[in-house]
């Protein structure tokens, strides 16, 4: 039983990180129809910014701030201005393909300029174990879970409680009407890109100590976030959160109880089942067809 508890906590911890990445993914989709196939690489890259800052002598906390800042400039602003803006009016697919090429470019750049080997990364949460209900649970999992939940609560508060967040939601629901009632649509879209950049940087800080910093680690992450977003409902932030947590737990439990060889298959089967029986996702709303 203590195994199960441990697995659940670890699963929720990775799931919460998936949720952060998946939320960024759905935000971009909602406000600007961008399917970002480089989202996993976006999580991989800030860790290297931080490592580079630390190599230059910055303390860990400063390196994290530098990493988040660089991520906002390059993966938020730069990504929007240089790639999304020129391509958006040409439809979803060419842009999606361009992000695939971007993913290759980021991976190769990290391999070439940094290292092809995995680098260790300091953890923001101290190692060790805490005792819950008389059982030992990894402190790192708990810390990651707490931080990720904090980030998610902060984001939902921003989206639902502030005027800014409501303006962003309005843009996501109907940009034309939003423009008519005086919402600065362009600025709101830029804001979602910046939020996505912060989310991936936070996810990077949380997940890299677990999986190490490696140029190829974005592939698995990006795919997990993608599936989490679909399972939860492609068009809902809370759906992406639920999807992320679910995928994290399912992934961990299936590795322990079903088969390590087919662990990656279980989320996929879940995905197909969701599409068959509940195509709008667990918490999503159905999209309407247009002629």
């Amino acid at each position: 039983m203590s195994d199960l508890l441990d697995l659940m906590v670890a699963g929720l911890a990775t799931g919460a990180i998936y949720a952060l990445v998946a939320v960024g993914f759905t935000l971009l989709w909602q406000t600007s129809q961008t399917i970002n196939f480089a989202q996993g690489e976006f999580v991989m890259l800030p860790a290297f910014f931080m490592l580079a800052a630390m190599h230059a002598g910055a303390p860990f906390w400063l390196a994290i701030l530098i990493g988040i800042g660089l991520s906002m400039i390059l993966l938020g602003l730069g990504f929007k201005l240089l790639l999304v803006d020129p391509m958006l009016r040409h439809g979803v697919l060419p842009l999606a393909i361009a992000t695939m090429a971007l993913a290759i470019g980021i991976k190769e750049a990290v391999k070439q300029f940094f290292s092809a080997e995995a680098s260790p990364f300091p953890s923001v949460v101290p190692a060790g174990e805490a005792s819950i209900l008389g059982r030992a649970v990894s402190l790192q999992s708990l810390g990651v879970l707490a931080l990720a939940i904090l980030a998610v609560i902060g984001l939902t508060a921003l989206l639902n409680r502030t005027s800014l967040g409501r303006q962003m939601q309005a843009v996501a629901q109907n940009p034309n009407v939003a423009r008519i009632i005086g919402i600065p649509v362009e600025r709101m879209i830029l804001l979602t890109f910046l939020i996505n950049a912060v989310l991936v940087a936070v996810a990077s800080v949380l997940i890299t100590p677990i999986y190490l910093a490696k140029f190829s680690s974005g592939e698995v992450l990006g795919q997990a976030a993608f599936i989490a977003a679909i399972v939860g409902g492609f068009n809902q932030v809370r759906g992406a959160i639920a999807g992320g947590l679910l995928i994290g737990v399912v992934d961990n439990l299936s590795a322990a109880y079903i088969s390590t060889q087919y662990r990656a298959a279980v989320p996929m089967i879940l995905l197909i089942a969701i599409i068959l029986f509940c195509p709008q996702g667990l918490l999503g709303r159905a999209e309407e067809r247009t002629v």
Partner: protein
């Protein structure tokens, strides 16, 4: 002049075919391998172009179908069965799997096909890797024999290149016929406006499945010649990134253009080879080239040509109109 224009495309294609046959004759082993790979990937990309470019369905599993074809060929030929039999079986298998895979996607909107195929692609990879009693697992299958065509052994690189090229030629002719058939028109109606197509009596369900299944079968064909080309297969080349690469080839070449996959596969297979002189930077440059191309022309390389031709045609037409108008004026 008009006669010339009519025969120009035929002359041009004849020249290209002749060049593809004659020029590689003194290529080395590696050059021939790359060219054969180009022919193979073009076949797979043509299948995806039918699914995506003509019928408008996004598939992220074309790489998995190439894998199924390759494993079918590898398993059958290493057990002494002929490659032609493997080809027939692979086509049947990929067609059937594609057909079945399309069903869940049809229940909902079309971009869900992309998600289902993404999941299938990963599942197929896991089966290739884990079912080692059949596929050899991570060790793969080695010593895949090359076929003898009408008694000619094709073990050397040049004859096998001609096998790949011949297969590409056959697939091209079949596709040319298919696109011009009523089926091809139905596929395009599906892409342009599925609901209108349905209201005009096109059985959209059946044609969506059909386009996807035929496209998948061509992925299988590509796999069947991929296996004897490399003579060794393992699961790694058939993971999701092959599907994404093939999708990139179709979009970069120009999705929905008949010759788009030829150019797209050329960019994806040959450009990295040409850039190899830059060593560690070659894939970075390749990615940058793809991004810049798509920013410049989201409809791909043939999109540029198409725009250029359309502009010239409009200019010619308006010049003609201006000419007739001035004639009128002089008469009046």
């Amino acid at each position: 002049m008009r006669e010339l224009r009519k025969y120009l495309p035929f002359a041009l294609s004849a020249a290209v075919v002749a060049a593809l046959i004659v020029v590689p004759m003194n290529f080395n082993r590696y050059g021939l391998f790359i060219l054969s790979q180009w022919a193979t990937m073009t076949i797979a990309a043509m299948g995806l172009n039918l699914t995506l470019g003509y019928a408008g369905q996004v598939s992220l599993a074309q790489g998995a179908f190439v894998g199924i074809g390759a494993y079918t060929a590898a398993l059958m030929t290493t057990h002494g069965l002929p490659l032609a039999g493997a080809l027939a079986l692979a086509i049947l298998l990929c067609f059937a799997i594609g057909w079945l895979l399309g069903y869940p996607a049809l229940r909902v909107q079309h971009h869900y096909l992309a998600f289902v195929t993404l999941a299938f692609s990963t599942l197929a990879f896991l089966v290739f890797r884990n079912e080692s009693w059949l596929t050899g697992g991570t060790y793969g299958i080695s010593n895949i024999p090359r076929p003898a065509i009408f008694g000619f052994a094709t073990n050397r690189p040049l004859p096998f290149y001609y096998v790949c090229l011949g297969m590409l030629g056959i697939v091209t002719l079949c596709m040319w016929w298919l696109i011009r058939s009523p089926w091809g028109r139905a596929f395009m109606a599906l892409r342009e406006n599925p609901i209108r197509a349905q209201s005009l009596g096109v059985d959209t369900r059946r044609y969506t499945l059909m386009a996807f299944a035929i496209g998948s079968a061509l992925g299988g064909v590509a796999g069947v010649i991929y296996a004897p080309l490399t003579q060794y297969i393992d699961p790694v080349p058939f993971n999701l990134s092959l599907s994404l690469d093939l999708l990139m080839m179709v979009i970069v070449g120009g999705s929905g253009f008949f010759f788009g996959p030829f150019l797209g596969a050329m960019i994806a297979v040959l450009l990295p080879e040409w850039l190899r002189v830059t060593e560690g930077y070659y894939l970075m440059l390749y990615a940058a080239a793809v991004i810049l191309l798509l920013i410049w022309s989201p409809t791909g390389i043939l999109g540029i040509l198409d725009r250029f031709l359309a502009e010239r045609r409009t200019r010619a037409a308006s010049a003609k109109r201006a000419g007739t108008k001035s004639q009128w004026e002089t008469v009046a």
